[in-house]
Structures are given as C-alpha cells and as structure tokens.
C-alpha cells in the first residue's frame, strides 16, 4: 500500500484567514462591568459567601450558584500576584513594546484580573508590586478600556 510521505515540500500552499467581528451580548453582570469600564470604574460582584469576584462572573466558581446582585467598586490600585514578561510582543498583543501579562488583585477584590502591566523593563517587575489601572484615551466598554496597569508610585 502506498503511503504518501510526510517528507518534502508541497507545491501548493495558500494563506487562509478566519476572520469575524463577533458581537457578544453580555447579560446583566458583564453589562454592568463593561458599562463601568466605559465610565472608568472597575466593579466586582459578590458571591453568596461574600467573596468579591473581579472580573465579575455570573456564577460562583466555588459553588456553581449565581452570584449576588451586589456590585462593589474595586481598585484602581492593586497587587500583582503573578506576571509573565513578554520580551517580544506578538502583533495581537495589546502593547507593541515589551510588557508583562499579569494577574492583578485589585484593592477590594478576592480574585485576580488577567491583564497587562506596562513598566518598560523586566527589572521593575516583581510579585507583590503595587500597580494601578491606566485608562485608554477613549473608553467604550471593553476590557481594553484599561490600557494597562502601571506601577503605582510612577503615576
């Protein structure tokens, strides 16, 4: 039986792109969060056990129960709980210069938000450092309304 070989190069190749601008309806909880971002407020939601989830979720990871309708303002400052230094950003990354993806526990929140920290260089990053949200020039109600987090003392 012939077995087409994996070696060599194909003669025909073509670029193929999947592209679509998805329109996502948000439901009540995320709607509140994104409306807040547009107004330069970061809000978390309380779970039945009183934990504050940021970003707010409709359902409690611990129990599966719906979260409450109690929202609280958190941040804009917070603590970096983990970070990954991206020395060579990809085109799809939010920043075009070296930055850190980070988990940021905002003041008043019990969970951490995944976002980016912009410090310029890796040596100024550390776990436990204080950062604060830097807003985009124009906020429209999307996660990128927070342009990045920056060191608190530098702002």
């Amino acid at each position: 039986m012939s077995d087409p070989s994996a070696v060599g190069e194909p003669q025909l190749t073509a670029a193929h792109t999947l592209e679509y601008a998805y329109k996502r309806s948000l439901g009540p909880v995320l709607s509140r969060f994104f409306t807040g971002l547009r107004d330069k407020r970061i809000q978390g939601v309380k779970t039945g056990a009183g934990q504050v989830l940021v970003p707010p979720a409709e359902y409690d990871p611990a129990t599966g129960e719906a979260t409450t309708d109690e929202f609280v303002d958190v941040g804009p400052g917070g603590v970096v709980t983990s970070w990954a230094w991206v020395a060579n950003p990809r085109a799809k990354h939010p920043l075009d210069h070296p930055f850190a993806f980070a988990l940021v526990q905002l003041d008043g929140a019990d969970t951490s938000l995944l976002h980016v920290v912009d410090t310029g260089d890796e040596s100024s990053m550390s776990t436990g450092m204080r950062v604060k949200a830097k807003w985009a020039d124009e906020t429209i109600g999307q996660i990128q309304d927070i342009a990045s987090f920056v060191p608190e003392e530098a702002s």
Binding site: T17, L18, R24, S25
Partner: protein, 143 residues
C-alpha cells in the same frame, strides 16, 4: 439622558486566525492537473472506484487512491439546484445553477456550474461538457 449613559450591553470582539493551508498529496495532484487543462481523478487502491476531485482516500475502503486517471470532460447531471441566495463565500453572479455532474469514467459526481443554457432546460440526466476559462485565468482553483 445622553447616549453616554446607556448601559453597554453588547461588545464587538474581532477574531482573526491566520493559517498556511496545504491541500494534501492527492488534492495537490488534482489541482496541478487543472493547471494543465486535465481532469485528474484517482482510483481506489482496493476497489478501483474513481474519485474526482480525489480527497486522498476511498471512504468505502479507507485506503489511498493512488492511481491517477485522466477523465473525459463530459458527463451527466445527477441532480441540481438553482441558487438565488447570496453568500460571502461565493463569487458567482446570482442566480446560478449548481449541478452534481458524473463525469464519464468517474464513480462519484462533482459539483459544477451549468451555464450557456436557460435554467428551465437543465434537468437530471442531461449531458454536459466542461468549458475551461481562458488559459490566462487558470489558477489552482477549479470550476
């Protein structure tokens, strides 16, 4: 109330994924055949049935179709539809007739456009012939 105060209820998140696509050994042979004005089918290594366009396997036997067969440019309409709905993935002017055509010597029909004939005259069982685009417009996409 200004528009600014309306809550955000929907967001737009663009998703773009880029690929470099390769068609596979058997499809490539078929596509290169088109470039030379040939309709290259492929026969199953086991049952000998001829597939066009070949996709790499005879699905009945799950074995490769490695024997290339050049097929005639004539065939018979098996079934058809007249398409009157636009679609992003189609660049043919509406309405058009798409038919399943069993080429002489093939064991499976391929889809083709039926042109140069009024729709009402197209029917199942009708004989048709492939008309090639001017050679200058040939590319690995077939019609």
């Amino acid at each position: 109330m200004s528009e600014e105060q309306e809550p955000v209820t929907r967001i737009i998140t663009p998703v773009k994924v880029d690929y470099e696509y390769t068609p596979g050994v058997t499809s490539e042979r078929f596509l290169l055949g088109l470039k030379q004005g040939k309709l290259l089918g492929a026969a199953c290594d086991e049952c000998g049935r001829v597939y066009i366009p070949p996709r790499g396997a005879c699905p009945r036997c799950a074995v490769p179709t490695s024997k290339i067969r050049e097929l005639a440019h004539k065939g018979t309409i098996i079934t058809l539809t007249i398409v009157r709905v636009p679609s992003d993935n189609i660049d043919v002017e509406l309405p058009y007739c798409a038919a399943s055509i069993l080429l002489d010597g093939a064991d499976i029909s391929m889809t083709g456009l039926i042109q140069e004939c009024p729709f009402e005259e197209v029917r199942i069982g009708m004989r048709v012939e492939a008309v090639w685009k001017p050679e200058a417009e040939w590319d690995p996409a077939h019609r």
